[in-house]
């Protein structure tokens, strides 16, 4: 059966955004009756590839082929007509509409120009039985739990009788039971000759369901092979493994300074019962899959969201900061991941942004001291090599320079602890190198740098110690030579090193 020609292919596709290449000549071929896994870390280009395959984006170069025929301009509508269905990670359901209406949306059976609700109900009932949805069909989707909504989303894809089914992390919100139902459903569809592309971070599911794998790394394919005889560790090895170059400054010999942060039994947002300690001169990394509580950990320490701890000591003072102002006063600063929405006041000038935390300190007699302000801004712009006129709005800068402004504004406070949330996301390689050097320098100056990152090499080559979070818990604490990509990826996905796979959620 797998000898049949591919139903859907990407042939050497290239795609970039704003001059930033995301896919660099990727090939993938989905064959009927095969469950094909697509693996890769965050930012490897998986979502972009899915968008190309479903016609949501057009490739810059290369082609998408259906049944062996290259299609010049694949639109989402023509992709649907060709039998390609995608179950997205972000749910795309209309909450106020019923289960039946959502499933049929865009493909309602008509009779005399009106919606034929009887025919709709028959077709919907059929796919709901397949995915195990037993709720009344006229129930509004908003009343369903997240996992049930995901099942509606899958039923919606099946309603169109797809020949190619793309599932983007379908089990991330499913219970073990629902995941089991989905696993059996995928096997049934495979046996009927549907070509399935399965994206998941859960390697045990990939092993149980898939027979072929494509691994993406930095926009290129690093593996395209059968999964026969590959175990959990082998999968991790396939995902890791790449030269890192001279991007990172050398790690100095560990010089232990005074304790700057020591918290125990720390809970904030998703994070439960975490223990975190850091000393002056250290760069501590926080890793894990996206959304496992990394941001909550930083925001909780920073006093920006409610947090509690059994015991907390920050630079000799006990207790967590009650708000951001208290955190700043204690010498803690925070650089958010989403600099456009959380880090910077985009329409305001570079100078205003840099000055915002220092306004009060620079004022004399209640009035702003223009000359002191200008001096400070000029000094920081030179130190951090921020290019351009400081009176320009910050939104005119490149991502890398914006990030430097977001960092620069904190330096006048002489912070003892820097909390950084993915500071190199969307930043070009040259600025990345500058930022890494800067972080090393901050540590050498006796500061503590706590760095949450979705970029595993960054954690391995920059950090002295790494905490890996999974579902809000500290899944592993690694230090020194134990910090390897395999160890971090393994801990993030719950694969114990040397023990093969963890619990099986899909049979």
């Amino acid at each position: 059966m797998t000898d049949a020609g591919p139903l859907l292919e990407a042939r050497r596709v290239f795609k970039g955004f704003f001059g930033n290449p995301v896919l660099k000549g990727v090939d993938i071929a989905l064959r009927p009756g095969r469950v094909h896994a697509l693996l890769g870390e965050n930012g490897a280009g998986k979502s972009t590839l899915i968008n190309l395959l479903s016609g949501a984006l057009a490739p810059d170069k290369g082609a998408i082929a259906i049944d062996g025929q290259p299609i010049s301009r694949l639109s989402p509508a023509s992709a649907r007509a060709a039998g390609i269905a995608v179950v997205q990670q972000e749910l795309s359901l209309a909450g106020d509409l019923s289960i039946a209406e959502n499933i049929g949306l865009g493909a309602y059976p008509r009779r005399f120009g009106l919606i034929d609700y009887a025919a709709l109900a028959r077709g919907v009932r059929e796919v709901c039985d397949l995915v195990g949805l037993t709720e009344p069909l006229d129930m509004p989707v908003a009343d369903l739990a997240l996992g049930r909504r995901q099942m509606v989303e899958i039923a919606k894809a099946l309603f169109r009788k797809p020949r190619v089914l793309i599932l983007d992390e379908p089990t991330s919100s499913l219970s073990a039971h629902e995941a089991g139902v989905l696993g059996r459903l995928i096997a049934t569809l495979r046996d009927r000759g549907v070509a399935i592309l399965y994206i998941s971070h859960r390697l045990n599911e990939v092993q149980a369901l898939c027979s072929h794998v494509t691994v993406l790394k930095d926009g290129g394919v690093t593996a395209d092979r059968s999964l026969a005889g590959v175990d959990g560790e082998g999968l991790v090895r396939l995902m890791v493994g790449r030269e890192t170059g001279e991007l990172f400054p050398p790690k100095p010999q560990q010089r232990v300074g005074k304790v700057r942060i020591d918290v125990e039994g720390f809970s904030a947002g998703l994070v439960r019962d975490a223990r975190l300690a850091g000393r002056a001169g250290e760069i501590v990394g926080i890793g894990g899959l996206v959304g496992q509580g990394q941001e909550d950990l930083l925001l909780g320490l920073y006093g920006a969201i409610p947090a509690k701890a059994d015991r907390a000591e920050i630079d000799g003072r006990s207790g967590l900061p009650v708000d951001v102002a208290a955190a700043n006063a204690a010498g803690m600063v925070y650089v958010p991941a989403d600099r456009k929405h959380e880090g910077l006041v985009l329409p305001h000038s570079i100078a205003s942004n840099i000055l915002l935390p220092s306004l009060g300190r620079l004022a004399r007699g209640g009035l702003r001291d223009r000359r002191a302000e200008a001096g400070l801004v000029a000094d920081l712009a030179r130190q951090l090599m921020i290019k351009g006129d400081v009176a320009r709005p910050v939104q005119a800068l490149s991502g890398g320079n914006q990030q430097k402004v977001a960092l620069a504004k904190w330096l006048p406070l002489d912070p003892g602890v820097l909390l950084l949330n993915d500071p190199t996301r969307g930043v070009d390689i040259e600025t990345k190198r500058e930022i890494y050097l800067m972080l090393r320098r901050f540590a050498a100056e006796g500061r503590l740098v706590i760095l949450a990152s979705s970029d595993t090499p960054e954690l391995v080559h920059l950090c002295d110690r790494v905490l890996v979070l999974r579902e809000g818990l500290v899944a592993a604490e690694l230090s020194g030579p134990a910090i390897t990509e395999a160890a971090i990826v393994g801990a993030a996905m719950g694969v114990e090193q040397g023990e093969g796979i963890g619990r099986k959620t899909v049979q």
Binding site: V324, E342, L344, V345, L355, L359
Partner: protein, 313 residues
Amino acid sequence: MMRAKAILRNPPLLTFLLVALVWLIAGLSLRGFGAYGHLRYLLELAAVIGIAAAGQTLVVLMGGIDLSVGAVITVTAILLPLLSPAWDPTGLVGVALVLAIAVGIGLLNGAGATFLQVPPIIMTLAMATFLQGMLVLVAGGSAVTVQNPAVLLLGQSRPLGVPAGVVLWILVSACMLLLIHRMPIGARFLALGANPLAARLSGVSTTRNTLILYALSGFFAGLAGLLLLGMNRQGYVGIGDPYLLTSIAAVVLGGTSILGGRGTYAGTIPGAILLVTTTALITVVNASPGWRSIMFGSLILALLMISGREARR
């Protein structure tokens, strides 16, 4: 060409030029418009709007809106005669008490907006309705006459030929420009207005600044109420009503973004003058009060469409 573009990009200057143009044309074509006495009268009227719009400018800069301005003006105008004790020959005690009440109302608005997270538009509208009900209970339907010497002095005297109200407005303008452009808190208001989340994560306290802001708005509305009372010699329920729309219109005419984060009081000043000029020109037209209201409303809308164009964000 470059200069023309710079003027177009500078809303306060643009509004100022518009005022000058209207005054020039009206002065040349309408008998009596250009007389010193008439222009002085216009400025006196503009002072009330300008002072009421001072607090509104700050609130709008921070991305909020204060719909209780009119009600606060009425409250001060009606309460002042009741709260001025007979033993105080200066009248300053009554003035202080009434301004304290105005600030208190503003603080309540701010507390609702920041602690209860009620959207400012709802909070201040509810406050206005509440105050109007209170006033009907306190004052009944009758007008009150003012005898407070300080307020009468403010409304009636003309040191060196300049109305005291205009002098007060000049003082308020100086303070406002200082606050927005030379004090740290002004930069914080602007940052909160443009991106509250980023400002908060930069250590700018939303709670503290919201409270200060609405307190200031209450204070300036109270001040405008006292001036209006002094000019009118009488206070009655509804005296402040016209100043709600005009205070917002003056802010927006001056080029301050209704979405917050961008603007200056320097634009509100000519904005207020433009509004009273418009009213004066409509009065010249021989029409019934109903038609005048309709014309005024349409003109404000037209002016806002011309000067309030703003890029969508």
